[in-house]
Symmetry: C2
Subunit: 128 residues, 2 copies
């Protein structure tokens, strides 16, 4: 792993919520001022490949990512108010991964739960 990739990983670690590649570029430049756009995109691709990043939708045409430090199969809770992301155990379990649905053999799945994080749910919509 190179110095640049370490910077990108560190920058990703710093986010408490979902981020775009653009956010990540800005954060990575705090660690490595001259780092280029293409380098961050390449780092994101390889981290996504390794399971260290996961895409959780998009915002205004940009892909949204979250950092995944956990190894086991899990999914994400995305707060629609503040963008905070939490991990949750897979709510589907074996049925989704193994079962056949009218002849359709499911091999993988993608689940994202949207709602309000504890803080936003407590303060209400006007609580910011």
């Amino acid at each position: 792993m190179t110095d640049r990739r370490r910077s990108v990983a560190a920058a990703a670690d710093g986010f408490m919520r979902a981020f775009t590649v653009d956010d990540l570029i800005a954060a990575a430049r705090a660690h490595s001022p001259g780092i280029g756009v293409a380098t961050v995109y390449r780092a994101v691709a390889s981290m996504e490949d390794a399971g260290a990043l996961e895409r959780v939708g998009s915002r205004d045409g940009s892909a949204l990512y979250v950092r995944c430090s956990v190894e086991e199969h899990h999914h994400h809770l995305v707060c629609t108010a503040c963008g905070a992301v939490a991990h949750t155990p897979c709510p589907l379990g074996a049925p989704a991964s193994d079962a056949a649905h009218e002849g359709f053999v499911v091999t993988s799945h993608q689940v994202t739960l949207y709602g309000l994080c504890a803080a936003c749910a407590t303060t209400g919509p006007e609580g910011g």
Copy 2:
């Protein structure tokens, strides 16, 4: 509903699998030869708004859609071999929509199951 929008809806009805907007433009032109790109995008937006189309991920940077004629809450089974899409009842049920996960109040969710449709599962990877 205008003639153009009817053409787009009819074109969408003709797909047995997920399609891109580009696919849809080509199909819509079979019905309305001169239909413009922007018109199809506008029709897609309004159909998605009305629940008649649903986005099920992307392929090569283009959004993928499926036609949704069913009204009730459901999700999609996407065949990774041939792209066929089937509807399936929500595998999560009430827990996902109502329950709190460590203070996180879930209000909506997105589930997509990937695998092989009956035809591709039967013929095997080399059969498709």
